[in-house]
Amino acid sequence: MTENNKYWRGIEDQSNPELSEKLAQNEFSNEISQADFLGNDELAESSTSRRDFLKFMGFSTAAATLAACEAPIVESIPYVVKPDSLTPGIANYYASSYYDGYDFASVLVKTREGRPIKIEPNNDASYNGATNARVQASVLSLYDGARMHNPMMDGAATSWGEAIAKAQSLLTANSVVLTRTVISPAVKTAISKLGLRHVSVDAVSQSNRADVYEALTGVRALPTVELSKARVVFAVGADFLGDWDGENLNGAYAAARKPGSDMLRHIQAESGLSLSGANADVRIKAKVSEYESVLAHVYNKVANAAGVATVSAPALREDIKLSVEGVANELITAGSGSLVLNGLNSASAEKLAAKTNELLASAAFNTSKLDFTATGSDSDFAALLEDIKSGAVTSVLTLDTNVLHFSTAMASLADKVSLVSIADRLDETASKAVVALPMSHYLEAWSDAAPVSGIYTVGQPTISPLFDSKSAVEIVNTLAGGSESAVDLIKASAASGSASKAWNALLHDGFADVTSVDVVTGTLDMTDVAVSAPLKGLEFYTYTKAGMGAGNNANNPWTYELPDPVTRLSWDNYVVMSAADAVAFGVEVKAQSNGSMNGTTINITVDGATLENVPVWIQPGQTQGSIGLAVGYGRTEAGKVGNNVGVNANELLAPAVNYTEATVVASEAEHGFASVQLAHTMMGRKIVNEINLPTFLSGNAKEWNEKPTFESYKGPLTSFEANLWDDQDHETSHMWNMSIDLNSCTGCGACVVACSLENNVPVVGKDEVRRHRDMHWLRIDRYYSSDMTKEVAEEEGVGAIEKYAKMEVPSESPSVVFQPVMCQHCNHAPCETVCPVGATVHSREGLNHMAYNRCIGTRYCANNCPYKVRRFNWFNYQVNDKFTDVNPSQDDYGRMVLNPDVTVRARGVIEKCSLCIQRIQMGKLEAKKDGRQLTDGEFTTACAQACGSGAIVFGDVNNPKSEVSHLKQEERSYHLLEEVGTQPSIFYQTKVRNRA
């Protein structure tokens, strides 16, 4: 006999049988709306049913099919009169020079069909032919629609004639010309023609440093350094790799740090982790307010040894005292091979550094060859502010300086003066001006420059002005009553100098040697050196980031999308804070379920001024009691990309001042970061192979660069011998390989921007980066060391779980390594074997090809890639409304920057590094057309070309004479994740640190 027993399926069944019944009826109770599927917010509000959806789908499919049947009519419009020098499809290069008041570079401009599309370094230039991320990105600023389209008067567009007349009427005898540092002799001449007082002030000030050399040499300038002559460099707060005059020092730094017995040793004392600090062999954590005393202690030690009077200095913190003393001893030992660099905008600090160099007879420190790229004067500017306050100055002509953004003091006085602004856009300053005169972008303007002693450069237009703008020199000259054209002014300027080249040669090369300014070196007066005492409380300082610099490319999406090399955050500025401080202030940064990072914000108060809801990033290596904020952000009038990104650090601290005391309270608001790297440590794996110099010199490469082996019946085999697949045939023709020297790579990010430009990599914006959908084909991974290592765990008997948990946590004073990672072009590629449609296949030249038009977007390849370098195109970035504000391709102007030799990928395909196959193909074709063999280094990839430190070398390993084939044999070379057996075409060189 059976009984109808009721069985509960769970405790809910008993407690709420109705609900349980309902659930049973409706198995998939959690409905997924189509809106979520489509990712369209608007659809969420509509009542689209499944049937409607299918109808739409059906209709659009049919419509698309029909539309596809009819080919659109494409017009092909040739020139009426074709310029001789131009052949459609062939790039032309013009030499030019870049200077924006912060970065200087001698560059080559690549143009296609008359459009500048890429900035390349001018390798022949005698001074700084290298490009950094900012200079690389600058080409996009040309196509910025937010630039001023015509002269403006009282907020309305007007003609040049009227604007100039109005400006001239505003400028009276007591007007002042306010500029950033001017290094153009032609502009200087034009300004002097105006006969007005000229004040220059920089957004990132080196004013007090320049004062020292002005007193010493009679010329307002900064000294130059030659790292090739140094053995030990001690930099105090000086980020000479990040923000000292572009890339100038990176090449020399990398060259001096080639591993060997004479390798340059680099010691950095700093508060926040800068690029230079990250590359240093030894890093001393000192607060910004301690920089002077650190320098003073080193100086005193050196002075004692030299028998010279010392300076009085406050005692150093106990935990850094010993290290600083050690540094002083090392410097004394190195003698003339030593170099001390100061980055603080303080006369005392600079004198201490300069005098130390003098006492040590430093060969690398040069006060007779001078650098003129940062000579703004804070004292002149302060005097100007006083005069405006008193009413002595009622009108100011600003030239290419956004002074109302970086100087709150000036901003508060803006109503008291009539402004005439020469600017590229209606920025914070020009928008307040009575007359705003549009200045051409450097790629459409004539310019000249005298960046350092003995060098003269010219910049030439590579395109007609897109808008009704003029070269800066021409505008100033017109205001002064002149009528010459820009080219005539530059020609005259070149002729008046002692340029060693005729005009055409000068234009072709972009630079010439000139007689340098006579420098009379006096003696440093050390009597007025006053070493300030370190701050007791919390210290707030400002710094510059690799992408943004001084903020001149503030509406340029590439500068925002480039992740900061150290924090790996994009689209933001934030306070960097040490972990200990974070605990004290109750601040935390947490990973979200979707993989993004959210953090607490704080309110910072300095002298009564408060900056609210500033996000905080907890930064390993940050000195406790010191918080930093990057300048150049928080723009309101930059354009749609740059407006309201981050906060303006200069609201708390004027550029003239480096640090101040601040109070901080945690605020309620939460901030979302766009972080591209969540794993901060290598977890004890050999991802970046790093050794110390003595180990390297011991020469036992088998030990420090151990290759993985696999046990087999034939005995241990390397990953190249233990194969599942047949070998590819790479004997005939070319085999492209790339070597990346981790010892030379400084992590600056120039390659990342260069790659984006060259390969039409889309900008995706903060929201997408937060979802890890960044599209960069080349990323620079940054790893911190951890206090916990396998050795430590073994010694202390730490258990496995605890060990790995602790290994995830970066050290409070980490060493930092950078590793550029792009598609490794595996010769046994895991991606190729899983692609169901054969969209990614191997070439006989060692490349892993990606055919976008074959790809159906399964993303199997991305999942199977051990290096995670394949990026999936989630959207049609070039048309989707979501990216209107950030993606340059959505703009008629911005689209002109696209490289016509590379496809703009559509939605739904995987893309990745092609090893710049368009350049390879073009290079081979040129050789074939000439009927000659390829020469090594004839062409290279965009990243290798942009790399100022020469870390990336590309070439044909089948050519035994090529550099890359030699590098492959180097004992430092290894493949990333060699144990996986992918046999990549990219290989790395072990990083060597110059420390015991």
């Binding site: 040739p78 009426v80 009169v81 296949v841 193909q921 009927g931």
Partner: protein, 424 residues
């Protein structure tokens, strides 16, 4: 050297012969106007017309004005003639503001006579059509395709025969006393058998489906294939005239094909190299009258309008707002493929016609090839690499020959089928 001197001797003999036999005639030479026209077109036409002053004087009646001996000297080397102090020569030089005429030392006497003969005879008036066809004109009989008619005819015949047979069958039935059967009934019975036959239905379904899918496949793979695409162009430009009749080299106008990925559509200033002189005003209609009343042809005038050329005063109009010619692009490759002309024309040494077809016969340009990937790939499979004389291939030509044991080495064998060679 031998041949040259032999020719010289021959031509000298010839000259003597002509001198002896033509002393009494008005024109003291025998010239072939047909050859003269050809020589005139290639040597003289850029500065002279028969009926009109161009850079130099109109040449009709030139033989009346000057002696053939003088003309020969003048044409050979007019500077020499002027230097010798010839008054007539100096006069004409001054009349044309000292513009120097090129010397033509390569023209033989006979050549010069031919040209002069042409200046006398002028262009032969075309024979009006529709009139006398017997004058050597071949009548082309259009060959027609009759296969359709034959099929229809045969079909009709078959139908009639079936009807006859049915009739006969019914008559026989009547004779035997049976009822006549309608053909429809029989067909119905047959049809019913077929429909009920599962095997037949299955086979038929499969056949129909396969045929349908096959058709659909070919139809769909034809989407976007624009073979024979022949859009109307803003100027009725004839490749047949330029590349065919006048034998202008393709590279003359499409000069970047050798250097660049684009073959390049010539800019208007390239057209002007010739059309500064060739304005089409001499074109005659069927009845031999000037077609455009001596004005320039309306199609050529479009170039003048684009670039701003004043035909009357023979000069460019100053500050003219140029109007680019908007040609309609015929060969459109999708954006996802990279194609480079110089690779094929310069390195691969392909003739333009291999892809673009008999352009020299096309009155109006059209897309000759499919331009599909299959078409590209096929050519890469079949075409041998031009290793010879190209230093780039020097080393691996040997390596490849060894590897492929002397087989022919096609583009495909050196990686010409790899995706990344065209798609990036």
């Amino acid at each position: 050297m031998y041949t040259t001197s032999k020719f010289r001797k021959l031509s000298a003999l010839f000259a003597v012969f002509i001198f002896l036999f033509s002393a009494s005639t008005l024109h003291a030479f025998e010239g072939d106007a047909k050859n003269g026209k050809k020589l005139f077109k290639s040597n003289c036409a850029s500065c002279h017309k028969l009926d009109r002053k161009l850079v130099g004087p109109a040449l009709t009646g030139v033989t009346d004005k000057y002696s053939e001996e003088w003309l020969t000297k003048w044409i050979r080397n007019n500077a020499e003639l002027r230097a010798s102090g010839d008054e007539e020569a100096i006069a004409i030089f001054e009349e044309y503001n000292g513009s120097v005429m090129s010397a033509f030392p390569m023209l033989s006497d006979q050549d010069i006579f031919d040209i002069l003969q042409y200046t006398i005879e002028g262009d032969a008036k075309p024979v009006p059509t529709g009139g006398d066809l017997a004058g050597g004109t071949t009548v082309v009989v259009e060959s027609k395709d009759y296969s359709k008619q034959i099929t229809i005819g045969l079909g009709l015949l078959l139908f009639v025969m079936v009807m006859l047979l049915t009739r006969m069958k019914n008559t026989l039935r009547l004779v035997q006393g049976e009822d006549p059967v309608s053909i429809l009934d029989e067909a119905g019975w047959f049809w019913g058998r077929l429909i009920n036959n599962k095997g037949f239905v299955t086979v038929a379904t499969i056949v129909v489906t396969v045929l349908f899918l096959n058709q659909a496949y070919w139809w769909m793979s034809g989407i976007g294939v624009e073979q024979n695409y022949q859009p109307e162009q803003p100027i009725a430009f004839s490749h047949a005239l330029h590349a065919g009749e006048n034998q202008v080299d393709c590279n003359y106008c499409h000069s970047s094909a050798r250097h660049s990925k684009h073959s390049g559509i010539p800019s208007a200033n390239v057209c002007m190299n010739c059309h500064m002189y060739v304005d089409g005003s001499e074109i005659t209609d069927a009845s031999g009258n000037l077609k455009y009343d001596g004005e320039s042809s309306p199609e050529i005038a479009k170039i003048y309008a684009a670039i701003g050329w004043d035909g009357e005063n023979r000069e460019y109009i100053e500050d003219y707002e140029e109007q680019p010619i908007k040609w309609v692009r015929i060969h459109n490759l999708p954006d996802l493929v990279y194609f480079n002309h110089s690779q094929h024309v310069n390195v691969g040494q392909l003739e333009c016609q291999e892809c673009h077809g008999p352009v020299e016969t096309m009155e109006e340009m059209y897309q000759y090839s499919e331009l599909t990937m299959g078409w590209c790939i096929n050519c890469h499979r079949e075409t041998e690499v031009q290793f010879e004389k190209n230093g780039y291939y020097q080393d691996f030509h040997e390596e490849l020959t060894e590897k492929y044991h002397g087989e022919k080495i096609t583009a495909a064998k050196i990686g010409g089928l790899e995706c990344g060679k065209c798609h990036y």
